[in-house]
Every structure is written in structure tokens, then in C-alpha cells.
């Protein structure tokens, strides 16, 4: 298992695009709250889906520092390397 930040970021974008309410033009630098118009609950629910795809748990306290999709991808990669 050696996903890069780019790999994980691409997977997150792909997962998000499965939701028809998400804007079509998102990329790694899109801001999760502002650009996707997600509320706190929607963010947590979407992170749960990503966790299952990548078999990793992202502690909620880590989410506080995450603004963009790339931030989330970098966080997940570091969590996977630590485990």
C-alpha cells in the first residue's frame, strides 16, 4: 500500500462527483466547506465514505485543520504511513 497524495486526492474527487449535488469543476485545491457547500455533518459523512474506501480512520480532531481536498489527501496518506 503506497498511495500518493495525488492518488488519494483523485479518489476523493471521484467519490465526491458521485454526488450529483457537488459542482462538476472541483479539483484537489477545492475548499471542502466553501466550494462544496457542505455543512459539518455532510463533511463527516463524506469522510466516512473515504475512510471505508481506503481502510483508514481519520480522527475528527484532524478535520479541524483540513480546508482543501488535497489537505485531506495528505492527512490520509500520513495516517496510513503511521499505521
Amino acid at each position: 500500500m503506497s498511495e500518493t497524495v495525488a492518488d488519494v486526492s483523485a479518489l476523493i474527487v471521484q467519490t465526491l462527483l458521485a454526488n450529483p449535488k457537488v459542482p462538476r469543476d472541483i479539483n484537489g485545491s477545492s475548499k471542502i466547506v466553501e466550494d462544496l457547500a457542505f455543512d459539518s455533518l455532510a463533511v463527516m459523512n463524506f469522510v466516512m465514505e473515504i475512510e471505508d474506501s481506503l481502510d483508514v480512520s481519520v480522527p475528527l480532531d484532524r478535520l479541524a485543520d483540513i480546508r482543501t481536498i488535497d489537505d485531506l489527501a495528505a492527512c490520509i496518506v500520513s495516517l496510513k504511513q503511521a499505521s
Binding site: 455543512d39 459539518s40 455533518l41 455532510a42 463527516m44 459523512n45 466516512m48 481502510d55 483508514v56 480512520s57 480522527p59 475528527l60 480532531d61 499505521s83
Partner: protein, 404 residues
């Protein structure tokens, strides 16, 4: 720039809710209760189906008399925290009574149920520990997790298998794992599969805290909650709950058999840095606890009433939560429709709770009702009729065979 400008969006949402002369659903005034089940709202007698007063004990004669007597002998306030300003004998008595009711060795009481969760969760799970929270947890549980320093992991609602998976990912990590579940979930009224969670907890060597706020006095042969009903009280390390629902007063508690509970008094900020429960509330709570223990029929009537309301609303073609419990929620699709529906119910004499996303699961607005042991069958039938009338006005009757 105003300090309130960050709430411009909230102000717009509120304006949309109250447009067209609608009421502010979060500012309803019950001028006074006429009984546990009827209140005076806008000058009209209104059926109360949204007060969480499950056993009707907020109007218990015994509790009222006990409160008056305690106020006469002890005064009306404690004016300080137990750690800084002293414990009163009544606090000790209440803790002994609650511990005895739950057949546990220890009890700590808090000034509210919210603070009980905040105080226990933040103090139990430290920096190197893990908190595993049900996704649909009450705000007090999430807030407790933010007040402490543990790593917080969320598992899918009422899904022991999902929890098992997340615990497996933590195998080999140092630190205690504290699982937090609720007995009855307050939005949809669904009940936790406590025995299954207890099994996962045992396998993983984790700790289990159950918030029985809505199930205390409601579930189990003696009203000790879902853990009692499922026969797994021995697996639940900490039971947290509130006096403000089935006992009709205010305050929170945690009971446990672990001797360490006493240490939490010295490190739980929501316990240490707030005024303790006042004498009249303690006395009323103990009287209500006596009454609850003496009158098990209240629980049976409550569940009969819950089934009557649940069946009635479903028969009226409305969509509800997954099971009959003292919390019965009607699930709607659009916020605007839910707001208008809620206003019509109040026009016609039924008070329920309007619950809006993101406080609700799955982004659906809810018309949340809570049932009481003291509702008469006629009152429940009347509420169902009014729901059905409004549903017809809104053309919401769905064919019985249709699925959501």
C-alpha cells in the same frame, strides 16, 4: 463589520422559516402547563406532544411537595460548586439513591444532562486515548469529545459491525478505547442494539459508556434503560443520563462500578466549575425516582401509548422512524413543507418539535413527537386526527404500499 455578520446565513434561514407570517418554531411560549399533557399556548389549550416528559412526572404531586419542603428547610440554591464551595447532604443522598436504583457502586450527579456527557466524556478519554462515537450522537457527546483531548473516531449509526472494523484498525495502538452509544436516539426514537455493541466491546477490550437519557425510566423491567432490557448491564462501564426527561426535573448523572469514578470529580471541568443542583430540585428528583419505582405501570402505559401513536401516524399515511418508541418522528422531505406543517399542527392544537438538518439524520426535516404515560388514548387519537387532517391539506398521504 458586525460581530454577528458570520450569522447572516442563519438570519436568512430564520427569515425564510418565519416568512408568510409563520411562527418562530424555536421561540414558542407555553404560557403555563394546565397538566402534564395540556399547555396554554397563544391563549389556547394545546396538546403537548413535544416535551420529553415521558412519565408526566414534571407535575408529580409528591415531587412538588418534596420541592416545597426542601426549599423551606434548605433554601433555594447552593450558590457554588461542590469542589470549591462544598457538598450538601442532599447531594450525597441523591447519589446514593441513584446508585442504588441502578444497583451500581458509585454515582456522580451533574447540574444538567448535557454537562454529565460533557463532564464524563472529556475527563474519561485523555490525550492518548480513543473515543469511538456513534455518528448520530447527541451534541453533548460531540461537545464532550471536543472539550477533551482524545482522538475521536465516528462509526456508522447503530452499526456494531462498522465499530468492529474501526476498532480493528486501532489494534496495537496504546491508549484506552471508549465506545459511546445512546439507549434511544432522540431524533428518530430508534433503539441501540446494546447486546451487540457489548459483544464488540468485550472482544476489543474496550470500555463502554451508554447515554440512557431517553431510555431511563422507559426501557427495562425496572426502567434502568436498554442495557437492562438487553441483559448486558455488566458490560456497560458507565451509564450517563438525565433527570430532565422521565423524572421531570433537571440534572444529570453517571453511575459505574469502577472505583475510579471518584477521581473524575477532581478533573471534570463541567462538574467542578459550575453551581451544584439546588435543594428543591434534588428533593423533587428523589420523590420522582420513588414514584417511578413504585409505579411500573407508568412504563407499560407509556409503551402502549407509543405504539398507539406510531400505528396511528403510519395508518394516516405518514412516514415515521423505524420502530415504536416514546420518540415518534414524522419524516418529511422539504424544510419549507415541514415548517408549514408544524405551524398548522399548532393552529389546530398540537404542539410538537420541528427538527431541522443538520441536527437530524440524513438531511430530512422531522416533526418530532414525544409520548407520555399520562396521555389518554383520546388525546393520542385526537393528535393523530390532526396530523391526518394536515397531511390531507398538504396532499401528503402516501399509499400504504409505497416505500420511502
Amino acid at each position: 463589520m458586525s460581530i454577528f455578520s458570520k450569522y447572516d446565513g442563519l438570519a436568512q434561514s430564520l427569515a425564510a422559516v418565519t416568512a408568510d407570517g409563520g411562527r418562530n418554531p424555536f421561540a414558542v411560549v407555553i404560557d403555563r402547563p394546565l397538566s402534564s399533557t395540556v399547555g396554554l399556548i397563544e391563549g389556547r389549550e394545546t396538546l403537548l406532544f413535544g416535551t420529553n416528559n415521558y412519565l408526566g412526572l414534571s407535575q408529580s404531586e409528591a415531587a412538588i411537595e418534596a420541592a416545597i419542603a426542601a426549599a423551606r428547610t434548605h433554601g433555594v440554591g447552593t450558590t457554588g460548586s461542590r469542589i470549591a464551595n462544598g457538598t450538601q447532604g442532599l447531594h450525597r443522598q441523591l447519589e446514593e439513591r441513584i446508585a442504588a436504583y441502578f444497583q451500581r457502586r458509585h454515582c456522580m450527579v451533574f447540574s444538567t444532562g448535557y454537562q454529565a456527557n460533557l463532564g464524563m466524556i472529556s475527563a474519561l478519554a485523555g490525550k492518548d486515548d480513543y473515543l469511538l462515537l456513534d455518528a448520530d450522537s447527541h451534541a453533548s457527546i460531540y461537545d464532550g469529545s471536543r472539550l477533551g483531548h482524545a482522538q475521536v473516531i465516528r462509526f456508522r449509526h447503530n452499526d456494531p459491525e462498522d465499530l468492529r472494523k474501526r476498532l480493528r484498525r486501532l489494534e496495537g495502538t496504546p491508549g484506552a478505547k471508549l465506545i459511546v452509544v445512546e439507549g434511544i436516539y432522540s431524533m428518530m426514537g430508534d433503539v441501540v442494539p446494546m447486546a451487540e455493541f457489548a459483544a464488540v466491546k468485550r472482544e476489543a477490550g474496550a470500555w463502554l459508556l451508554a447515554d440512557e437519557a431517553h431510555s431511563f425510566g422507559v426501557m427495562g423491567a425496572h426502567g434502568r434503560g436498554v442495557a437492562e432490557a438487553d441483559g448486558v448491564e455488566g458490560d456497560v462501564d458507565f451509564v450517563v443520563g438525565t433527570f430532565s426527561k422521565s423524572l421531570g426535573t433537571v440534572g444529570g448523572y453517571c453511575v459505574s462500578d469502577h472505583d475510579g469514578l471518584d477521581l473524575i470529580r477532581l478533573c471534570s471541568r463541567p462538574y467542578m466549575f459550575t453551581a451544584s443542583l439546588p435543594p428543591e430540585i434534588i428533593a423533587a428528583t428523589m420523590a420522582a425516582l420513588d414514584e417511578m419505582g413504585r409505579r411500573p405501570e407508568l412504563r407499560h402505559t407509556l409503551m402502549d401509548n407509543a405504539r398507539r401513536l406510531y400505528a396511528g401516524l403510519n395508518a394516516a399515511g405518514l412516514r415515521t422512524g423505524p420502530q415504536a418508541s416514546p420518540v415518534v418522528s414524522v419524516i418529511l422531505d422539504e424544510v419549507d413543507q415541514a415548517v408549514r406543517f408544524w405551524n398548522r399542527l399548532l393552529d389546530l392544537g398540537v404542539y410538537v418539535n420541528l427538527s431541522l438538518p443538520p441536527a437530524t439524520p440524513d438531511q430530512h426535516p422531522l416533526l418530532r413527537t414525544s409520548v407520555m404515560a399520562t396521555h389518554t388514548p383520546a388525546q393520542i387519537d385526537r393528535a393523530v386526527d390532526i396530523f391526518a387532517t394536515v397531511a390531507r391539506e398538504f396532499d401528503l398521504m402516501r399509499p400504504a404500499a409505497a416505500t420511502a
